[in-house]
């Protein structure tokens, strides 16, 4: 009996040693914690392509001061950049905590499929990080110093996260959302477009993608309407302005419902927009809450204006972009069958799209001054 116990004890100790031996894992303080990743492309004259992948890492200095640093790897494939980057770094990189993935506009126009592939394959990356497109080089944006932040990625993370609630932004700009949208039938990826202005980085519109390639960008004005028409449920403010002194601001929650009808080979889409919200500033009408008729008038004016804006955007989408940015193809596919080799972009661009806007004013805050 005693012999048996000794054998068990010794084998346990041996087991322990054999497991912890040669695992090559380092504690978190000896790793470089990533705060963001960027994707740049360098296209040479002869068509040869080189990738430059900058990673933004934290640097923990003296006196608990944290700063950021850019570690760039260059290679002919994304995988090769890793070895190149490690050559210039004193520690291993800790993946999984990236807050943003910055894609340069050039890269986005070249096509982001290989970025998605490398991120999809690697199980360690953070699926929940935001994806943005930058109009210059990603390295530049990642290295940009925002006062009060260790790295610009922290700042951008906040910008994207808190954009939700205004301009009909949603929180669907994460990496998983891009994964899901790029290859699904009838869907389109929509990625916030960031530029550096005087005060720092800001979202100035959206990069619109056809499959994995960026085709164009829309500015914020259009982006707002695009969001309104595209998202199932989102919030933002709209207004009715006659001149500088007389206007009404309206903050609402928009819900979209799409109906699709099929007549032979022709499709007809009806987008129902239900807006429900409060007046946040009213410099035109007297208090509308006490006056039902006035309220109706305001609601009608608002819905007319929004409908007009929507129709203008749809017209532009059909003629200029020629893309199904509103994911109407998805609804049609769900209703009339998938995977039948239909080009939804073409169908949507040539179909009749009707927008019906219904505005409802709920409250007017604590009163009208």
């Amino acid at each position: 009996m005693k012999g048996k116990q000794t054998v068990i004890l010794i084998s346990l100790v041996l087991l322990f040693i054999s497991y912890i031996y040669n695992t090559n894992m380092k504690p978190v303080e000896n790793m470089q914690v990533l705060s963001g990743a960027g994707y740049d492309i360098i296209e040479e004259v002869d068509g040869h392509i080189t990738y430059s992948i900058p990673l933004s890492v934290y640097v923990f200095g003296e006196d608990n001061k944290i700063t950021g640093e850019i570690k760039t790897g260059i290679g002919s494939t994304i995988g090769l950049t890793r070895g190149d980057r490690q050559r210039k770094s004193d520690n291993k990189f800790l993946l999984g905590l990236e807050k943003v993935y910055v894609i340069s506009e050039d890269y986005a126009k070249f096509g982001i499929r290989n970025i998605l592939d490398v991120l999809f394959t690697n199980p360690e990356v953070n699926d929940m990080g935001a994806v943005i497109v930058y109009n210059g080089k990603a390295e530049e944006l990642l290295g940009y110093q925002v006062s009060g932040y260790a790295t610009s990625s922290d700042y951008l993370d906040g910008v994207i996260r808190n954009a939700q609630g205004y301009n009909f932004f949603t929180n669907n700009y994460k990496l998983t959302d891009v994964f899901v949208r790029v290859d699904s039938e009838g869907r389109k990826a929509l990625i916030p477009y960031v530029e550096i202005k005087k005060t720092g980085p800001e979202v100035t519109g959206f990069a619109i993608f056809n499959k994995d390639k960026m085709v164009d960008k829309v500015n914020m004005q259009e982006g707002k309407i695009l969001n309104l028409l595209r998202e199932k449920k989102a919030r933002g403010s709209l207004n009715l302005q006659k001149d500088a002194k007389s206007y009404v601001d309206y903050y609402c929650e928009a819900r979209r419902k799409v109906k699709v009808e099929k007549d032979g080979d022709n499709y007809k889409f009806i987008i129902d927009l239900n807006l429900e919200g409060d007046i946040i500033s009213n410099e035109e009408f007297p208090s509308v809450i006490d006056n039902p008729e006035l309220k109706k008038k305001l609601e009608a004016e608002l819905s007319d204006k929004i409908e007009a804006e929507c129709n203008a955007f749809i017209q532009k989408m059909k003629c200029e972009y020629k893309l199904d940015l509103l994911e109407l193809g998805r609804v049609a596919a769900a209703n009339f069958g998938r995977h039948q080799n239909k080009d939804w972009d073409k169908i949507v661009s040539t179909s009749d799209i009707k927008v019906k806007v219904k505005v409802k004013v709920d409250k007017e805050g604590r009163g009208n001054y």
Binding site: S18, T23, P123, M128, T176, V180, F336
Partner: protein
């Protein structure tokens, strides 16, 4: 009736063992193969796929009616004689070894990918099989309790996709029944091996203490398993859509990764952490069945010691299977054969037992058993 210290399992535990054997690792990757064939109707094809376990359960109930106190190992000898029965039992045993090995290798794959990339397959597999041998060595009674306990744990995990339902869209599973029934059935046939494990019922049913509930418990187990499979496949499609699911190795994990949780960054790890407990239990069930049948060939061996003696052998076989390409290849070839063998062999046994209902066979078996 003696209330304490019996070695039997309750009918409920019997159900939990069946569910526990069928739901383990394969369910995480099942949506992938199903969707390739049946697209958004994959969850319907799960129901068709469940015909196989359902058929075996019916066979099990028929056998149970005939011989409530004998398991298939003894019945096969009654039907095919000692040599034929032994041969049947040997193949029957092989499939448990095969599935124990492939399931452990599958778990090894997931863990290597997601949470334990720093360990070699051999280290991980050695740990799985040790856990399985440890569990199996306590015998059926403890196995029943473990399955029961872990079932409740699994229930929590199964319900977590509810949290992401609002992020998915009903558009993803529409239009329903777009694909022909033929395509849907093809999908279910391809993944039928995910539902294997039901065979364990043939060796444990004589040990149920409340025998009157056996039929109910068997049906309950299959229906519960079917529901869980449907729910998994359905929620995966609902959340991800059919175009993206086949890209993932284990699509369901991506569903869990979108659950927002405080304190922890990614719910997927919690899910994997708890699900590996579920998977270990599945491996234990297979290991137990394998060892039990092995013990049947060499009566008189101490079961507990045999479990530990089998450990190096099973671990070695599993390490062979840890090469993914090899495993997928052999799985594609061997699994349908095992399933055919089960269907044909067990149907044959049932027919023979019912044909030789009265008369000399009965008496002969009595003599044998004496």
């Amino acid at each position: 009736m003696k209330k304490v210290g019996t070695n039997d399992i309750t009918a409920n535990q019997y159900s939990f063992i069946i569910i526990g054997t069928m739901i383990g690792i394969a369910i995480l990757s099942a949506p992938k193969d199903l969707i390739k064939a049946a697209e958004q109707d994959a969850w319907i094809s799960v129901i068709f796929g469940m015909m196989y376990p359902f058929y075996l359960v019916i066979m099990g109930i028929l056998l149970f009616r005939r011989y409530p106190d004998k398991n298939i190992l003894q019945i096969s000898k009654i039907c095919f004689g000692n040599i034929g029965g032994g041969l049947f039992n040997f193949v029957f045993m092989l499939q448990f070894l095969f599935f124990a090995a492939t399931r452990s290798a599958g778990l090894d794959d997931i863990l290597q990918t997601y949470i334990a990339s720093f360990l070699t397959p051999a280290k991980l597999i050695a740990a799985f099989i040790l856990a399985a041998a440890f569990t199996a060595s306590f015998g059926l009674k403890v196995l029943g309790r473990v399955n029961e306990m872990i079932f409740y744990l699994m229930l929590i995990l199964i319900l977590c996709p509810i949290a992401v339902l609002r992020d998915g869209s009903i558009l993803n599973i529409m239009p329903m029944l777009q694909n022909s029934i033929g395509k849907i059935i093809v999908g279910s046939v391809q993944t039928v091996y995910s539902y294997s494990g039901i065979e364990i019922l043939f060796i444990i049913y004589p040990r149920i203490s409340d025998k009157e509930n056996m039929v109910k418990a068997s049906l309950k187990a299959v229906i519960a398993t079917a529901l869980i499979y449907v729910w998994f496949v359905f929620s995966t499609i609902y959340y991800l859509g059919i175009d993206i699911v086949p890209k993932y190795g284990w699509p369901f994990l991506s569903v869990t990764s979108s659950i927002n949780m405080p304190v922890i960054n990614n719910f997927r790890y919690i899910f994997l952490f708890l699900w590996s407990i579920v998977a270990l239990k599945t491996i234990s069930n297979y290991f137990f069945s394998f060892t039990l049948i092995f013990n049947d060939f060499f009566k008189g061996l101490d079961f507990k010691k045999l479990c530990y003696a089998m450990y190096p052998f099973v671990a070695y076989v599993t390490i062979l299977f840890s090469d993914e390409a090899f495993r997928r290849n052999i799985l594609r070839k061997a699994a349908p054969n095992f399933i055919l063998f089960n269907i044909i062999g067990i149907t044959l046994i049932v027919i023979i037992t019912y044909l030789k209902k009265e008369g000399k066979y009965e008496r002969k078996t009595n003599c044998n058993s004496n």
